[in-house]
Amino acid sequence: MTTNQAINESGLTPTTAVQEDNSLGLSPTMAALKRARSHYGLKIGLGILLVMAIFALFAPWLAPHDPYMQNLPMRMLPPVWGEGGQWQYLLGTDHLGRDYLSRLIYGARISMTIGIGAATVGMIIGVTLGLIAGYYGGWLDQAVNFLVTCQLAVPSLLLIMALVFVIGQSVTVVIFVIGATHWVFYLVVTRSATLRLREMDFVAAAHAMGCSKFQIAVKEVLPNLANQIMVIFTLEVAVAILNEATLSFLGLGIPSPIPSWGLMIAEGKQAMFFQPWLVVLPGIALFVLVIAINLLGDGVRDVTVTNRRN
């Protein structure tokens, strides 16, 4: 019951029906690609993401300065359009005189690493448990369901904070802790799809040919779930990025001086009444990244999940 609502909250169930298209005769992949070409949200999201990914990947070459280099005489410079801004520091400098643009570019790296890392960890946990629960059923299914109920009842942010504090603050810890608390959507979707696929003829055929349960689960059932899992993966990347920013903002995420956007907002907060751009810029970066990922996720859902399968 609760899990179904949670899924609805995520907007995973398609809200807009895909238009009928005459893609008869095309392979499913080609048909999806054809639909993707006329999907504006998907194209915009993908475009923004590609640009940000290029900045993140090639940060050492694209960033004008070293993001860790302190230059105290040049501290708190406004962006170039502000009063006293300098072309050398396009977006100004922070309280230690570090170039803000460079820190923002390196921050994209942190956000993307954590988003993809945490979503992968969650995917491994959720899909494994979902396959087990859906394919084996019985007491295993009930045990997994109980685990979901418990996970949903815990205030996840509080749990993440406590875990990070206890284990220690680092990028790896943040990835694993966020991943370990965000697997419910994967599980619910994998489980219900597995339940449905289990009854299909091709699974019965594989069984008759002597495949083990494990082989069937991995080789027959899993490939049929790829589309849905991919959609959840994108949306979970966005959730993980926002979670990391919140954690770092509260001081329980990425440790200083690593340029995390959440941490930059926390540092900028001290001076936000006089130099609001210190808070505004990393927030806009976060917003743009997350909205691009969500547009991509919604788009992928629209073009691949053609009917209400769940």
Binding site: Q5, N8, T149, A153, F273, V280, V290, N294
Partner: protein
Amino acid sequence: MLTFILRRGLMAILVALTVSFGTFALFHYATDPAQTIAGEDAPQEMVDEIRKQYGFDRPAAVQYFDWLGSALTGDFGESYFWKQPVVQLIVDHAPVTITLALASLCVTVLIALPLGISAALKPNSWVDRFALSTAVSAQAIPNFWLGLMLIILLAVTFPIFPVSGDATWRHFVLPSLVLGASSVPAVMRLTRTGLLDVLSSDYIRTARAKGFTGYRLIVQQAMRNALLPIVSVLAVQLGNKLGGSVVTESVFSMNGLGRLAVESIFNSDIPTVQSLILIFVLTFVLLTLAADLINAWLDPRIRMG
């Protein structure tokens, strides 16, 4: 109906117990409470003395049931950091969080329901597009950042509301907006899809054919059924708001349970953290239980099934 309540109630208790044991185990194996109480650089003898005095040398299971037994009688132990009973701390901090959670729930309902309903009434119109893009944007805005932007805009540039604190009702306006906005996308989407589903059903077509329009059609006929899932999601969202208060209260420096939780974590104040997590979980479980019961009461199919 009775077996339904009993079954759900039992599940709720089981969940609360499992979660509280999990939290206990986590802190038990990862931190040394004796060291925390004694201080970072206390001599080893003193740490050992405290360990004995507080009973930290006993087996983990014994300590857990000892703590649980006291917790059930309303004794949550003594805070290591604030040096006062945890119950007192919770009683002192709860009003702010409860007020904030309820006020933000009102904000959510007041924004999400009208938006969702108008979007469902005219699907694919500009209202619908506006509502959906609001949901997409609201989902992507970091909640704490929205708080800071509202402070810059409505407390500093245009000093309408106070920057931080929790003294008067004016202090609650901005935090409630921030916390309320976080649940708008979920509730709005659900209202929209729920109402769309209902509107395409046969009985609404019949009602339309009989001449029902406007308010009577939407509110008296359609909303009744569309409300079912909204009741559950609102309960879940109210539970989430308790967790969300962690961030909002920190941004606006409000003395509620969320900020208490953050500070307790920073100070390794295990009894407080543990009690707060237990209380949050219990509240969440009770809220979902209440929502399930309301739904079962509204919809006979659930309580029979």
